[in-house]
C-alpha cells in the first residue's frame, strides 16, 4: 500500500538516532526488544488515541481534487473500509440519468444513454423494471441457436456432455448479461445467482433448471416466491446435501441446507436463530430430496415425523405426504420474519446503491419488503430513487461486470464467447464456480488487487478481430482525427464523462498522426484498463 504520510519511517529514523547516541556501546538483545516494544507501544498507542476521533464524513459531493483527505489513523480500522466511500468523478453528472444508467446496466453504452435521456430518471427505471415489455427476442434467438442446452430439461441434460452443459450455461449467461436490453433484470439475475449460489462442479446439469426456473423466473418477482422455488429446486437440494439427509431413527439429519437457508438465504447470520434451530429445521426438512433425473420430491419414508421447535414455534410432526407441510410452514415463517426483510433490504441496498447503506435506508427498504410482501421491483424503485443515488459513493465493478461492460462498449461481432469465458476464470469470476454458498463477494477489498488480469483482458479483447471468436471493428475510430477517436471512446466507454486525466493520457498516447488499426486497439485497451472504467 502507498504511504499516506511522509512520516512512514518515523520509527526507523527515531531508532537509528537512539542507537547512535548510546554512550556505553553495550546493548543486550533483550534490551533491544524492550526498547523497541516500548517505542512501538508509544506509536501504536497514539494511533489508538486517534481512533477516538469521529470518522470522516461521507463524501457526497463531486471531488474538487483527486484525493480525499487522509482520515484519522485508527487502531481499530475504520468502520468504512477504503474504496467503499469513493465520491464520483468530478466529470460525472451526479444528478443526471447517467448515474442511474450505470447502476441499472452491466456497462453503460450510448444506446442506454439515449434511452434514459428520452425517458427521464423514473421513466427509464420503470422501463427496465417492466422488463417483460422489452423485446429481447434477438438475444434469446441467438442463445437458443448458439447454446441450445440451456433450454433443455434435466432429463435431456443428464445425458449431455457435462463440460458442454457447463460452458454453454456460462457463455449464454455472459451473452445475455452483455447484450440483452433487459439490463436491470440481468443485474438482478446476477445478484440472486450469488444469493442462492451453487457450484456447478458439484451440481452439474441440475443448475440449468435452477437458473431458468428459480433465478431467471423470479429475479424481479417476489422474494417469497424466489425462496420457495429455490427450496424446491433439485439443484439446491444437491448443492447443500439436503438430498442425503435422513430423518429415520438412528440417522442424524444433515444440517447443511437447514443452516444456510437461515444464515444466507433469509434471516442472516445475526438474524436470531440458534444452533438448536439449525438442528430442528434439519429435522423438519428431512424428506426434501431428489428423485429421478433432477426432480425435486418429498420422500415421507425418510421424514422425521416427531414434533419440532423452530424459532420458538412448535412444528407439529406430520406423517405421509403431509410431512412436507412442516417445511412449507417454516418457509412461510422465514419469508415473513423481520430479520429477512432487513437482511434482503440490506443486501439489495449494498448491491444497487452503497456498500454501507444507512440505518434509515435499510429500515425504509425493509418496510417496503414487509408492506409489499417482498416485492423486488418495489424495493428497487425505492433504492434507486433520485435522491439516494446521486449522494451514493461509486462502486467498484466486479470482474464479471467489468467483462460485460467491456463487451458492451466494444460492441464486437460475436461468434463464440468461449475465450471470454476462459478469461473470466483468469479474472476469478467465471459464473457458477464459487465453491461456497455465500456467492462471489461484492467487496472492493477482495477484487481491486487483481488488476493485472483486467489489463491483460483489455489487451486480449481489443486485439480480437476474428470471425470465429470476436471481431471488433475500428473503422469508426479511424474516420477522423486522434482527438475525434478519443471523443468516440468517451461516448462508447464513459457515457461522455471521461475523466480529464484519462482523456489527457489517451490524447498523449494517440499522438497526432493518423491512427492505425493497431493504435486504435491499444487506445481501446487503455480505456478499458483505466481507473474510471473500473467504477460504476
Amino acid at each position: 500500500m502507498r504511504p499516506t504520510s511522509s512520516a512512514t519511517n518515523a520509527v526507523a529514523s527515531d531508532e537509528s538516532r537512539d542507537l547512535e547516541s548510546r554512550p556505553d556501546g553495550t546493548m543486550t538483545e533483550e534490551s533491544t526488544e524492550q526498547r523497541r516494544s516500548r517505542r512501538s507501544f508509544v506509536f501504536f498507542g497514539a494511533l489508538a488515541a486517534a481512533s477516538l476521533l469521529p470518522r470522516s464524513a461521507r463524501a457526497q459531493q463531486a471531488r474538487t481534487k483527486p484525493r480525499k483527505p487522509v482520515p484519522p489513523p485508527s487502531m481499530t480500522d475504520a468502520s468504512i473500509p477504503p474504496g467503499e466511500n469513493v465520491a464520483a468523478f468530478a466529470e460525472w453528472d451526479l444528478t443526471g440519468v447517467s448515474r442511474l444508467v450505470r447502476r441499472v446496466t452491466m456497462g453503460v453504452t450510448p444506446g442506454d444513454m439515449a434511452k434514459a435521456n428520452q425517458l427521464g430518471w423514473q421513466g427509464y427505471l420503470n422501463s427496465q423494471l417492466n422488463y417483460t415489455r422489452i423485446d429481447d427476442s434477438a438475444v434469446e434467438n441467438f442463445v437458443a441457436q448458439k447454446w441450445p442446452l440451456v433450454n433443455q430439461v434435466s432429463d435431456t441434460l443428464f445425458s449431455a456432455d457435462s463440460n458442454q452443459v457447463e460452458s454453454q450455461l456460462q457463455e449464454a449467461t455472459l451473452y445475455r448479461s452483455s447484450f440483452s436490453t433487459r439490463q436491470l433484470y440481468h443485474r438482478m439475475v446476477e445478484f440472486w445467482t450469488d444469493h442462492f449460489n451453487q457450484d456447478i462442479t458439484k451440481v452439474g446439469y441440475l443448475l440449468v433448471a435452477d437458473q431458468r426456473d428459480v433465478i431467471r423466473k423470479n429475479a424481479l418477482g417476489k422474494f417469497p416466491d424466489l425462496l420457495k422455488a429455490s427450496a424446491h429446486s433439485a439443484s439446491m437440494m444437491a448443492y447443500l446435501d439436503q438430498n442425503t439427509s435422513d430423518g429415520r431413527p438412528n440417522h442424524a439429519p444433515n444440517q447443511n441446507y437447514a443452516r444456510e437457508i437461515m444464515e444466507l438465504h433469509t434471516l442472516g447470520v445475526d438474524g436470531g436463530y440458534t444452533q438448536d434451530d439449525v438442528a430442528e429445521l434439519s429435522r423438519v426438512l428431512t424428506g426434501w430430496t431428489i428423485t429421478g433425473r433432477g426432480i425435486f420430491t418429498f420422500n415421507p419414508t425418510i421424514h422425521d415425523t416427531g414434533s419440532k421447535t423452530v424459532l420458538g414455534t412448535t412444528i407439529a410432526g406430520q406423517t405421509g405426504a403431509a410431512g412436507i407441510n412442516e417445511g412449507e410452514q417454516v418457509l412461510d415463517m422465514l419469508v415473513k420474519h423481520p430479520s429477512t426483510a432487513t437482511f434482503i433490504a440490506t443486501k439489495m441496498l449494498k448491491w444497487l446503491l452503497d456498500p454501507n447503506p444507512s440505518d434509515t435506508q435499510i429500515a425504509t427498504v425493509a418496510s417496503v419488503y414487509k408492506a409489499s410482501g417482498g416485492d423486488i421491483k418495489a424495493m428497487i424503485r425505492v433504492i434507486l430513487n433520485d435522491a439516494w443515488l446521486p449522494a451514493a459513493p461509486m462502486k467498484f465493478k466486479r470482474p464479471y461486470h467489468f467483462m460485460t461492460a467491456a463487451l458492451r462498449s466494444t460492441k464486437p461481432t460475436v461468434a463464440s464467447l468461449a475465450s471470454m469465458n476462459t478469461q473470466l476464470a483468469i479474472l476469478g469470476h467465471q459464473s457458477y464456480t464459487w465453491q461456497t454458498p455465500d456467492g462471489f463477494p461484492d467487496r472492493i477489498e477482495y477484487w481491486s488487487g487483481n488488476i493485472m488480469p483486467r489489463w491483460s483482458l483489455a489487451s486480449t479483447l481489443s486485439n480480437l478481430n476474428s470471425t470465429s471468436t470476436l471481431a471488433i471493428d475500428t473503422t469508426a475510430y479511424r474516420a477522423g482525427s486522434p482527438a475525434a477517436a478519443i471523443d468516440l471512446i468517451d461516448q462508447n466507454f464513459f457515457a461522455g464523462e471521461m475523466p480529464a486525466v484519462t482523456r489527457t493520457g489517451l490524447l498523449s498516447y494517440a499522438g497526432t498522426a493518423t491512427l492505425t488499426d493497431a493504435k486504435v486497439r491499444e487506445l481501446i485497451a487503455l480505456a478499458i484498463s483505466s481507473n474510471a472504467f473500473q467504477w460504476y
Binding site: 500500500m1 553495550t26 442425503t244 435422513d246 439429519p253 483468469i426 461456497t436 487483481n450 485497451a525
Partner: protein, 441 residues
C-alpha cells in the same frame, strides 16, 4: 529463540546495517570498523534478508475435520462415534497396511492420506496442535473465517487481517521490495488486508492477490508495453485507495515476476508438487522464496473441507483433499522448509466438525480442529493438546463437538513474535493476551 533469531531486530536500519556489514566483510576487514561493536553478531547467509522468517499461511476453507486429519485412535469413542467413516488404527490387521493410520505418539495417528507429512513430523519440523480453533463460538463458515482472518472475533470495525497488520507493523525484509506479500488467489484474502490507512510508524504492505504468478502480464505488443504502463501509472496516480496502491504495485511487479523462472524451477530434494491448484500455488510460492525477490508472506487457500456428506476419509472425497494437502506440504517441506532455516508455514481451518457422523456419511459443522505448524524454528515432532478428554457426550461442546482448548491466536502470536520478529502482538491480534505454548524453538 535460535541463533539466527537472537539477532533479529526487525528494523530497517538494522537490515541496512547488516547488508553493509556483509558488503564490508566482502571488501575487507577494515570496513568493519565503521560499525558499532554493540551490533549483535548474526549468522550471515547468502543475503541479509534471511534473518527473520518468511511466513506461508494456508487456510483450509470449509471446516476441516480434524478428527480425520489427525486421529485420536486410542480413544474407542472415536470409532463408536463414526461407524462408517472411521480410519483404521495403525495396528488394525484386518485391513491392508496402506489403509492404516501412521502412529504419531500412541494416541494420535496421521490418516493414510496424510502419510506424506510423516517425514516432517519425524524430523521434528512439523508440529500438530489438536483441539485448536477459535474460542469464540461460530458455526458459520463465513463468520468463523472472517474472525480468524481478521484476528479478532465479532468486531465489525476491524477490517484488516492479522497478516496485513503484521506486515504493516514491521519493516520490509527487503527494503524497497515492490511485492512483500501475495495471496495466491483471484481476490485478496481477508488475512492479508492491510490497515485502511498506513500512518506514521507503519509500513506499506505491498500486497497483491495473484492467482497465477507464472502468468502476470499486461499483454499486447511488447514494443509498446512501457508506454502503456506509463499511461496506467498516470491514470491511476489520482485513484483512491486501495485501487491506487494496488495498481502501482501491479505495475512494479511485472518485471519482478518476469525475473522469476517458474517454468524451469527445480524443487530441491527432487520434491514433486501435486499438479493440483494447491500444489501449483505452493510450487510458485517456493519459486518466489528461492529466488529471493523480497516476498515475506504468502496466503494460500485450500477448499473442499465442507464434508457434510460422503466424507469417506479412507478412499473418497476427503481422502483426496487430505492427500492434496499433505502431499503438497510434503513437497514444500522437502523443497523449502528442510533446506532453509527461515520459512515457517501454518495451516488451519475455521472449525472442525461434529464428533458423531450424520446420516449422510458425513459430519456437520463443529468446533475444534487440528492446526499445523512447520519450520526449522518450530518445536515439532509432537501433537500438543490442552486438557484433552475422551470423546464422550458429556465432554463435548454442546454435546457434539471437540472443544476448542487452544486458540489459534496463541500459536500465531508466538510465531509472529519469535519467528517473524514482530513484537507488536497487540496490534496484530488486538485485545488478545497470548499464552505462549512453546511452539517455537
Amino acid at each position: 529463540m535460535d541463533e539466527l533469531h537472537d539477532a533479529d531486530c526487525g528494523c530497517q536500519e538494522y537490515n541496512d546495517l547488516s547488508r553493509r556489514q556483509f558488503l564490508g566483510t566482502a571488501v575487507g576487514m577494515s570496513a568493519m570498523a565503521v560499525f558499532p561493536d554493540w551490533l549483535p553478531k548474526i549468522v550471515m547467509s547468502k543475503n541479509y534478508a534471511s534473518n527473520r522468517d518468511i511466513i506461508v499461511s494456508v487456510f483450509m476453507r470449509g471446516g476441516a475435520d480434524g478428527l480425520s486429519l489427525v486421529v485420536p485412535f486410542a480413544d474407542a469413542n472415536y470409532y463408536s462415534s463414526r461407524p462408517t467413516i472411521a480410519i483404521p488404527r495403525p495396528d488394525d490387521t484386518s485391513v491392508a497396511a496402506a489403509a492404516r493410520g501412521t502412529n504419531l505418539d500412541n494416541f494420535f495417528m496421521l490418516s493414510p492420506a496424510m502419510a506424506g507429512l510423516f517425514p516432517a513430523f519425524q524430523a521434528t519440523d512439523l508440529l500438530i496442535v489438536h483441539g485448536a480453533g477459535q474460542l469464540y463460538v461460530s458455526r458459520s463458515h463465513f463468520d468463523a473465517q472472517r474472525y480468524m482472518e481478521v484476528g479478532k472475533p465479532v468486531d465489525q470495525t476491524l477490517v484488516s487481517g492479522w497478516l496485513g497488520r503484521h506486515l504493516a507493523s514491521i519493516p520490509p525484509l527487503k527494503p524497497g521490495a515492490p511485492l512483500r506479500a501475495l495471496g495466491v488467489a483471484s481476490g485478496l484474502q481477508k488475512t492479508l488486508v492491510p490497515p485502511p490507512v498506513i500512518t506514521s510508524g507503519m509500513y506499506d504492505t505491498n500486497t497483491l492477490p495473484i492467482a497465477d504468478p507464472t502468468n502476470f502480464s499486461i499483454g499486447g505488443a511488447s514494443a509498446t508495453q512501457t508506454a502503456r504502463i506509463n499511461f496506467l501509472k498516470g491514470d491511476y496516480a489520482g485513484a483512491d485507495e486501495p485501487v491506487h496502491g494496488e495498481a502501482l504495485a501491479a505495475t512494479a511487479t511485472i518485471d519482478l515476476l518476469k525475473s522469476v523462472s517458474f517454468s524451469t524451477y527445480k524443487p530441491q530434494n527432487a520434491a514433486v508438487y501435486p499438479n493440483s491448484s494447491f500444489g501449483r500455488a505452493m510450487r510458485s510460492v517456493a519459486a518466489l522464496i528461492t529466488q529471493d525477490v523480497g516476498i515475506e508472506a504468502a496466503q494460500v487457500d485450500l477448499g473442499g473441507w465442507d464434508t457434510h456428506s460422503g466424507q469417506d476419509p479412507n478412499a473418497g472425497s476427503m481422502f483426496r483433499t487430505m492427500q492434496d494437502f499433505a502431499n503438497t506440504l510434503a513437497a514444500f517441506y522437502a523443497d523449502i522448509v528442510a533446506t532453509r532455516t527461515n520459512v515457517t508455514l501454518v495451516a488451519f481451518s475455521e472449525f472442525g466438525r461434529n464428533v458423531r457422523e450424520n446420516g449422510s456419511n458425513g459430519t456437520d459443522h463443529g468446533r475444534a480442529s487440528a492446526l499445523f505448524a512447520m519450520g526449522k524454528g518450530i518445536a515439532g515432532g509432537r501433537v500438543i493438546t490442552k486438557n484433552w478428554q475422551p470423546l464422550v457426550r458429556q465432554n463435548l461442546e454442546a454435546g457434539q463437538d471437540l472443544k476448542v482448548t487452544i486458540d489459534y491466536k496463541d500459536v500465531l502470536s508466538e510465531i509472529v513474535q519469535n519467528r517473524l520478529g514482530n513484537p507488536n502482538l497487540s496490534f496484530v491480534f488486538p485485545a488478545w493476551t497470548p499464552t505462549m505454548l512453546g511452539v517455537t524453538r
